[in-house]
Symmetry: C2
């Protein structure tokens, strides 16, 4: 049984103060699948593209051993396109254009073999489609899901239905505040976990990520990067590293989820160092593990005291 990944596949045009790329392979499930591929296989990708989707992009998925039985290629139509520009402060992004194209009528059909997959990673797409995917699965054991402010605002009720079925819900801090209508992030996390997810991960960009469980809060720092070239895909790479590591280890203990958060942060930090998917291409296992260990060192301190008493 494999790791089922469902989300968007896109062709991106990205401009940042440090350069630009056009026609680049993008979309939530692309980053998720690539990042997860370093940890585990098989990865079953379900998505849709048009017949403008190049062989080069197909080859890329194959290179990383990503199973494409669930990839629909719609003849005479075009692939989902996104174009965005980042400001000098990379936290600010303008979407220049979004052309849904084939995505407008996407109906994710899960191939028979993938309906048995017990680990599911739902990338950021319409919660109606996310629900549709979950309904096709025979006996899912562990479901991880991402979303964005657009769906929180426009499809809140559908999103709430998805949330009831989740093991891990992954969102960023502004999305958490929007969803819970609560500025304090710790209270916000409580409110969101009451909506269904067993675990909640709140991503905070350059401020790291936080994992919430019953009475447990775990902080993962952000890797101190001097050169962030393109933040696109960071959150999806996080989800891919997180889910890929969990699928590899098949260990769903809280302690292992903490490690998964660090592997997620590792993949996100590698992603943003280069444009598009380049930061998560051609990595070695030892490169990924070396960064994981650096994360450990970032927040390590020893308590050699026995308190304040003198």
């Amino acid at each position: 049984m494999g790791l089922l990944v469902v989300g968007s596949i896109a062709l991106d045009d990205i401009k940042t103060p440090f350069g630009q790329i056009v026609n680049a392979l993008g979309g939530s499930s692309t980053y998720i699948a690539l990042a997860a591929s370093y940890f585990t296989k098989p990865i079953h990708l379900v998505g849709v593209v048009g017949d403008d989707f190049s062989k080069r992009h197909i080859e890329m998925f194959k290179k990383y051993d990503i199973d494409l039985e669930g990839l629909q290629i719609i003849k005479g139509e075009k692939t989902f396109r996104w174009s965005g520009r980042y400001h000098y402060d990379l936290n600010v992004r303008d979407t220049i254009s979004t052309k849904l194209n084939v995505f407008q009528n996407f109906d994710p059909i899960i191939p028979d073999k993938s309906r048995k997959d017990r680990f599911v990673l739902l990338g950021n797409i319409d919660p109606v489609l996310q629900l549709n995917v979950l309904k096709q699965l025979i006996n899912p054991m562990f479901t991880i899901c991402d979303t964005m402010n657009f769906w929180i605002e426009r499809k809140r009720n559908d999103l709430l239905k998805v949330m009831e079925k989740l093991d891990v819900f992954i969102i960023n801090d502004s999305e958490a505040r929007l969803l819970s209508d609560e500025p304090n992030l710790i209270k916000s996390a409580k409110i969101i976990r009451e909506m269904g997810p067993k675990y909640l991960v709140i991503k905070k960009g350059e401020n790291g990520a936080i994992l919430f469980s019953d009475n447990v809060v775990f902080y993962a720092p952000a890797y101190p990067l001097e050169d962030v070239r393109d933040p696109t895909g960071a959150g999806d790479s996080f989800a891919g590293g997180f889910g890929g590591y969990l699928h590899k280890t098949q260990d769903l203990s809280l302690e292992n989820l903490k490690r998964a958060v660090i592997y997620g942060s590792t993949m996100a930090s590698l992603c943003v160092e280069k444009f598009g998917t380049k930061g998560i291409e051609n990595l070695s296992s030892s490169q990924i593990y070396a960064r994981f260990l650096e994360f450990k060192e970032l927040s390590r301190f020893e308590d050699n005291t026995s308190g304040l008493k003198t």
Copy 2:
């Protein structure tokens, strides 16, 4: 020899969505001295107040064993007053009024015994005064200094002169970006450390704090607080816990500075739970140590893997 603390002493009126206080003891050196008093003594406070400063406030300093030989009480004049209001999102604060009063002509005179102090903690005041203090010291060994955007914008050259003499410079993230004119915080830290300070601590409020040294970055998480009632004095309490712990241990190794950052974060997290100085009053050593240990748990994870190889 003691820990010399120089900064403002104020009477504050504070309003937050959770309540308000008037005429409360405040100012940078008040919070610093109180927070540090749990770790070490003697603490030599140098500051100025008017004759409206109540006995109750003097008694408060005495209760925490804070030496007031350097406290100037100016007859016929009034104490520095600050009045501020926090928004629903506690990260946003309006200053309603600032009345410098006695602070306008403050000339910090360091008592003879304190001129020998080797640990100095300069709270946020005019960098001209901070320089003036440093010139009076006989043989300072370890100097810690805080500042704010106002001085970065209005007295940059004086601040740069102070920075040349510092062991530890403590600022928040927006101040770091302002001072360095660089949005990337890691690059910003490099630029600022080149201005003089051996170590730099960047405070990030609800995102923790980062310690920068040569080739070392240490992240302290923020304590996950559901009820932040009043953020006033958090940064000063951080400085007090940080400096108090270092003075107590007299250990200036990087590993001990990391612990000092956690003790600083501990005091800041206790401070914001109540109004004004109330959060750092009447604490027990074991209460402070318990929170220190909770900080350790917040970012702890074990690496039981030997990498990604399967």
